[in-house]
Amino acid sequence: MAAALPVSPDPSTCARRSPIYRILAAAGASFAAIGDAAIAARFGDSMELEVDGARRLGLADLSPLPRTGFKGRATPEFLSQQGITIGDASNRAYSCGRNSRAVRLAPTEVLILGSRGGDDDLCGRLEATWPADTGMVFPVPRRDGTFWFAVTGSEAPAMFAKLCGVDLRPGRFDNHAVAQTSVARINAIVIRDDINDVPSYHVLGDVTAAESMWSYVTDAMTEFDGWLVGIDALSSLARLAGET
């Protein structure tokens, strides 16, 4: 017998709203509160089917989750002082905090992705401690300027082949590799961040292109029987895979 679902908050009454919350609601999403926002937690009643979908080809909206960015010549030093170690290579994602990622986009520009479960406050802590008076580190409002989608599953590279010029197959695009490219002719940052053995990609782009990107990806997914998935399925996948 399936466990009773918690009451789904109405995203249209939240202060923060995903740029595609209407599309998600129309697709049958149940939402979960996360801070002053609501995130699509699941679609339908069967978590098993949704997790299976995520293993094969899933698309999730993570836009309500915390993320931020910093740029300026003292950015690596600032992050190091906050306990975040990033490597020298740009276009790489580095682990930090509880399943958070520091994505080095350029020598002096870093994107910080909070955990997929929304269960750490790394971004808030960094935004509260950035050295405003030095003139050498500047925050970038990534949470508001960009959408954040996750594409998961074994069929994801094949699906991306229809939309993106970069070869994202696992053998060609390492885990934690980053491509600043275009997807469906929309400027995007693609980050491979597997959930253990399940290929997984973060896709971020300008927030005004969120609806377009969502519709292009869902259209491309139909050929592979793709699923819309919520963060509960991603969390379940991570738990099954042993991630904390």
């Binding site: 202060a15 740029k71 500047f138 949470r143 300027g145 005004t208």
Partner: protein
């Protein structure tokens, strides 16, 4: 909806069959009560770093080094030939931090030009494009302060504490916000910028709080009418690919004592050679037909310029407009010819700008 640069923006709210009445009602709501327009499509940039003020001094014609924190100032951008290419507002949020807006249609070009220029200048400044990271609305009308006050805990919106052209940061209904007291439509007004994921909630809260004040959302057509009544130009509509500040009566926005800004040398040369046209405000007799934008203005039967903006003003009860004429026709009280449809000639009278509230008492209340 109507195209505006890369965007579609609301032209007015309601059925196309009722367009004229809707635009009039929206404009009157702003003049008599309060109105709300979405201006999220504006370009927005964070200019930060030790050389932020010096950078703006070079990019724009006005002066910014001595601009106090917590104040906004008009920005006018010219290219190397002195041609007007954009305008907006620079808000000084700190010693080394400006928040700058650009027009909807030129937002990307302005950002690109800033990056290009600073690649040459190498000033110690960071330029971040936050056009889509902030949503923005303009709440305008004589009841705007009364509506907004209960939503702004911790912010004193009184005239003395938050005067015209001031900028404040605080919260509106619990949402982080930047508030600019600007007056594009000529009424008491607040341009409110919030992180874009809060934009829709901000709109909902303001409309809800505005119901007792008979708030109306207004679109671009009403906004253009209202700013015309105040005589404010729109870059790209009242200017063209050759317009210099002297022709558009914008010399007040040039800081002549600055050593340099893009276009300064060209403007100095053009000032010596004189101008061939000038932008004036005009009005028509109440019974006159309505000219269209780009109808020609004439001097002795020859083309002198063109109408750039024209509308029937519900607040003033007459047709008003902006047009380029020969400088010798520009004196207030003089008449000039406009060639309208079917080659008809009508007489327009040059008047002093602004048409509406010449003492600016309403926007500075």
């Amino acid at each position: 909806m109507m195209p505006a640069g890369a965007w579609l923006r609301p032209a007015y709210y309601g059925r196309p069959a009722d367009r004229e009445r809707l635009v009039r009602d929206e404009a009157l709501a702003v003049r008599c009560n309060v109105g709300l327009i979405d201006v999220s499509t504006l370009g927005k940039m964070e200019i930060r770093g030790p050389d932020a003020a010096a950078f703006l001094e070079r990019m724009y014609t006005f002066a910014y080094v001595k601009q106090p924190a917590g104040r906004s100032r008009y920005v006018l951008m010219t290219d190397e030939t002195g041609t007007i290419i954009d305008d907006g507002v620079a808000c000084r949020l700190g010693e080394h931090h400006f928040y700058v807006t650009a027009t909807t249609g030129n937002a990307d070009a302005v950002y690109r030009e800033m990056l290009r220029r600073n690649a040459m200048w190498q000033l110690d400044v960071d330029i971040t494009n936050v056009a889509t990271a902030f949503a923005a609305v303009n709440l305008a009308g004589p009841l705007a302060r009364e509506l907004l006050t209960p939503l702004c805990a911790g912010l004193d919106l009184s005239k003395n504490a938050f005067p015209y052209l001031a900028v404040r940061q605080g919260e509106i209904a619990g949402m982080p916000a930047r508030l600019l007291r600007v007056g594009f439509v000529g009424e008491l007004g607040y341009e409110i910028h919030v992180p874009s994921s809060y934009g829709e909630a901000l709109w909902d809260r303001l409309i809800e709080a505005g119901r007792p004040f008979h708030i109306l959302p207004f679109g671009v057509e009403a906004q253009r009418l209202l700013r015309l009544e105040k005589g404010h130009i729109i870059v790209g509509q009242d200017t063209d690919g050759l317009t210099i500040p002297q022709e558009a009566a914008m010399t007040w926005a040039i800081a002549r004592r600055k050593p340099y800004f893009v276009g300064k040398r060209a403007l100095e040369i053009q000032e010596q050679s004189g101008i061939a046209r000038t932008l004036v405000g005009f009005e028509l007799a109440p019974e006159a037909p309505l000219p269209e934008e780009c109808h020609l203005t004439l001097l002795n039967g020859e083309i002198a310029g063109r109408v750039t903006s024209v509308a029937r003003s519900p607040a003033l009860g007459k047709v008003i407009g902006l047009a380029y004429v020969d400088p010798e026709q520009a004196k207030p009280g003089r008449f000039f010819d406009i060639k309208i449809a079917q080659g008809r000639i009508i007489k327009a009278k040059v008047v002093t700008l602004p048409f509406y509230d010449p003492d600016n008492a309403r926007q500075e209340m």
